[in-house]
């Protein structure tokens, strides 16, 4: 079984081609502003270097957020169009789950992303990638308090805040989701976890 892995939701851009549990190609680098220019040539390189074509892929695994809104959409648009065109199975995975997929020293890992104004995108996972606290848009202190209520010991990982740097293991994520049913490409959409400011203001106004 061959998989294409795409992550544009976090601070690390990942493009991978995996056959069963063997990584045939992996690009991993800091996600930059030039993402929209860079990403297709990297995908092209992934296929060229592995001597494969998009039609040789069975399943696309793509992170659908949370994270940078524009970033999520760039990877998801590619996955959506590719999966729809070539009738491929596509499986969305959480970007926070990807951040905890590497090898850590504790049983529980708490991934954090800056969501501004003292808010974070956060969750709590065990080392088998099972969520203990689901992906949330939440105040930073509330996140920590909730985690403290659940488990005694955990490792916090974050690209932006001063904690342990997240480590990614795409094979582990693919294995975890290999039997997921997949989603209709038309319904493959970002999981923003957050309304737009305009929507928030409007619902506040209507509530008054």
């Amino acid at each position: 079984m061959r998989s294409l892995f795409i992550n544009t939701s976090t601070k690390k851009l990942i493009i991978g081609i995996v056959e069963d549990d063997k990584v045939l190609y992996e690009y991993s680098d800091t996600n930059s502003n030039e993402l929209s220019s860079k990403i297709m040539p990297i995908i092209d390189e992934a296929f060229t270097k592995t001597n494969l074509k998009p039609v040789d892929i069975d399943t696309i695994f793509v992170t659908n957020g949370p994270g940078s809104f524009t970033g999520i959409r760039i990877g998801l648009t590619i996955a959506k169009v590719m999966a729809w065109s070539l009738k491929m199975k596509v499986v969305p995975v959480s970007s926070l789950e990807l951040m905890v997929s590497g090898n850590y020293n504790s049983d529980y890992i708490l991934p954090l992303m800056d969501a501004r104004r003292n808010n974070v995108f956060g969750a709590l996972y065990d080392r088998n990638l099972n969520p203990i606290i689901n992906d949330s848009f939440i105040n930073y202190e509330d996140m920590i308090n909730r985690a403290n209520d659940m488990v005694k010991d955990y490792t916090i990982v974050s690209h932006e805040f001063d904690f342990e740097e997240p480590k990614y293991d795409i094979v582990k994520v693919i294995k975890k989701h290999i039997n997921d049913k997949g989603i209709n490409p038309h319904e493959l959409n970002p999981n923003y976890l957050k309304m737009t400011e305009a929507e928030e203001n409007l619902s506040k106004k209507e509530g008054e």
Binding site: T70, T77, V81, L202
Partner: protein, 333 residues
């Protein structure tokens, strides 16, 4: 051999795909407008627009191909609006276009949004050169001289607000619902020109300026309100519209004479304006100028016009590679 262009347009609040044959024949077009959603906010909210584009992009693609009864293999090249526009919105169409170009190994043709508006006219009638194009929309007010196909010389532009922008702002102040342009146009047709407003930037250049006129309307409205006078909205709309139409037509007719051109096309959302259509039709008949104004459905943003422009861009060898990026602003070329 026939050339089929699959065109994608997502620069603002319309998700649109189209298949155009040989730059002039519309095979199928699907336009998904988000106008009703943005109306709740009194204008386009960029983040909401981006969110709606990604939700709809493959649905619109599927419907466009189905309507044409065609498959991607039948397509010659893919044309994409790369700018100008809202970055987040542009990126959805752009990434979709690049993905399709990549997996089906099709040439990718970058199209400037305004070139699209101009070439909407080719779907109505074969464009004849040399010609003058008056581009009027929410983001643009330009006079463009075209010596031949796909050669654009911008001879005049707005120094401040675009004409559509001025309409929207005036609409907001006098309490006319979004979208402001068409609604002010409607009011103007009921009213009479009774308010004393200045003719903006009435000089020998081909440039425009609408912020002064806009301010004059707003000041007049507030002054009358303060004095407790009743404002006749219809008459104010009519007076404002007359000044706009007068200066647009005056400079356009002047440009035609100066460049010795007998073909005029109008492009962009504001070309749907009834006042502008009437006056231009009258003046062009008088001056023996061939005037083309696209049907209303081609005036607003749509991918058919991108497919028409894309065909000519394709023919002269315009190509982009997979690094093509979206541009919020870019010179017409």
């Amino acid at each position: 051999m026939d050339t089929y262009i699959l065109a994608i347009e997502s620069s603002c609040d319309e998700t649109s795909l189209s298949i155009i044959k040989n730059g002039c024949e519309e095979i199928s077009t699907v336009v998904l407008s988000q106008m009703d959603t943005h109306a709740n906010y009194g204008g386009v909210v960029p983040e909401i627009a981006s969110r709606m584009h990604i939700e709809n992009i493959t649905l619109v693609l599927e419907e466009c191909l189905k309507k044409a009864n065609m498959a991607m293999d039948d397509i010659t090249a893919i044309a994409i609006t790369y700018g100008p526009g809202l970055i987040g919105s542009l990126l959805i169409g752009l990434m979709a276009a690049k993905t399709l170009a990549y997996i089906y190994d099709k040439p990718l043709v970058p199209v400037h949004h305004i070139a699209g508006h101009i070439y909407a006219n080719n779907l109505v009638k074969t464009m004849e050169f040399p010609l003058m194009a008056l581009v009027v929309s929410g983001g643009h007010t330009e006079l463009v001289y075209m010596k031949e196909n796909y050669s654009f010389e911008v001879i005049g532009t707005t120094l401040d607000d675009a004409v559509g922008e001025a309409y929207d702002k005036v609409a907001r102040v006098i309490g006319v619902k979004y979208p402001g342009g068409p609604n002010v146009d409607k009011l103007a047709h009921i009213g009479t020109d009774t308010y004393n407003l200045p003719l903006p930037l009435d000089d020998d250049s081909f440039n425009f300026s609408f912020s002064g006129l806009k301010s004059a309307v707003i000041n007049l409205y507030h002054n009358e309100e303060q004095r407790g006078n009743v404002i006749n909205k219809e008459n104010l709309a009519c007076s404002f519209q007359n000044r706009v139409v007068d200066i647009l037509t005056k400079k356009t007719m002047h440009a035609l004479t100066e460049y010795g051109v007998k073909n005029l096309i109008v492009a962009g959302g504001v070309s749907a304006n009834k006042g502008l259509r009437e006056k231009l039709t009258f003046l062009c008949e008088k001056e023996d100028v061939n005037l083309t104004i696209p049907e209303i459905k081609y005036c607003t943003d749509n991918a058919a016009m991108i497919g028409a422009a894309g065909y000519f861009a394709y023919k002269i060898g315009r190509r982009a590679d997979l690094t093509l990026n979206a541009k919020a602003t870019d010179k017409l070329n």
